[in-house]
Symmetry: C2
Subunit: 199 residues, 2 copies
């Protein structure tokens, strides 16, 4: 087995996975690709950053069948497909270049054939996520429960459409942790140690 | 949130979850209920230990619909139901009594309403599991791939029937680890530290 040198971070909306990813990268002295990943995909695909951020992880409809219809309706490659292809290229290039932490965007699937990746998943209980989302993004007119459910459904549909896998299936990750029980710092420590402790 | 003092260990067949559970218990000075759990359930239900070991985690058929037919066919409580009720009682009693590690038998679901449980899941890649199973239980006439698939399918069906949940859904566990990448010792250390690091 190759030594793990790339860490993919998948995370539930509101679980603090972004914060944990940054902490892991800091502990290891690795680059962390999250916002910068979006910038690169935007550049590669020609689409706007905000659009890439939204459409590079979320289905436009929460139903995967409906999404497939929308995503595939333009004859050739749909907008979603074009973004997916760009992020596929960018993520593969980054992984080939240097040890790093890559957040979201199906990186666990895109890099599935590389033996040097440690795939991680962060989740949290609903109350924790609700508090974290309101703290980070503020209140909105629709209920927090609805916002969480909508994001979860659309992320699941997106992931299923492009990977054929089920989002949050434990077998897809080497380490899956509940941030609401373990805390961000301990989660990051566990992953950083898994990299450091390799023989 | 209460301090976690009970650890449930769910595991794929061949992942070494039993070994990890023992290591966790040793590190914490906790009792580990695995073989002894089967003995207690056998005593409570009146069934033989070998029968409880087999039927307390595995559906008799790999199809959950067929299993439901078989399990529910005797009018009142089926044999499977009687074992499930006994293990439900024994697991709840153990958890109420003292800090401990409880292996398998839907303990994560049975104790879901207790706030003082840390739910863990151990899995591994197929090659690792195959080697581990042959080392531990020896070769048999049927292929190792078939043995793994059969065990997985029957455990999934059992879990679905009695809990309504999907086996290996990441949200059911606070810590899920791949033993083939992290090693038994590191897996145990992560869980023991999660208990020790609580404030």
């Amino acid at each position: 087995m190759s030594k793990k040198r790339i860490i993919t971070v998948s995370r539930e909306f509101g679980s603090g996975g972004h914060t944990v990813a940054k902490l892991i990268a800091d502990k290891l002295g690795y680059a962390c690709y999250d916002k910068e990943l979006v910038e690169r995909i935007a550049k590669e695909s020609g689409f706007d950053e905000a659009f890439v951020r939204e459409r590079g992880e979320y289905a436009s409809a929460s139903n995967s069948f409906l999404f497939a219809l929308v995503a595939g309706s333009s004859g050739g490659f749909s907008v979603s497909d074009q973004i997916y292809i760009a992020q596929n290229n960018v993520i593969k290039e980054l992984a080939a270049k240097e040890p790093c932490v890559i957040v979201g965007r199906c990186a666990d699937y895109i890099l599935r054939d590389r033996d040097d990746c440690l795939h991680t998943f962060f989740h949290a209980d609903k109350d924790f996520r609700a508090r974290h989302i309101v703290e980070k993004y503020g209140e909105r007119s629709d209920s927090i429960e609805k916002r969480i459910k909508d994001k979860d459904d659309r992320r699941k549909a997106y992931y299923k459409h492009y990977t054929g896998r089920n989002w949050g299936d434990v077998q897809n990750y080497h380490i899956s942790l509940d941030t609401s029980v373990l805390g961000f710092e301990q989660c990051a420590e566990i992953v950083a140690n898994a990299i450091k402790n390799q023989k």
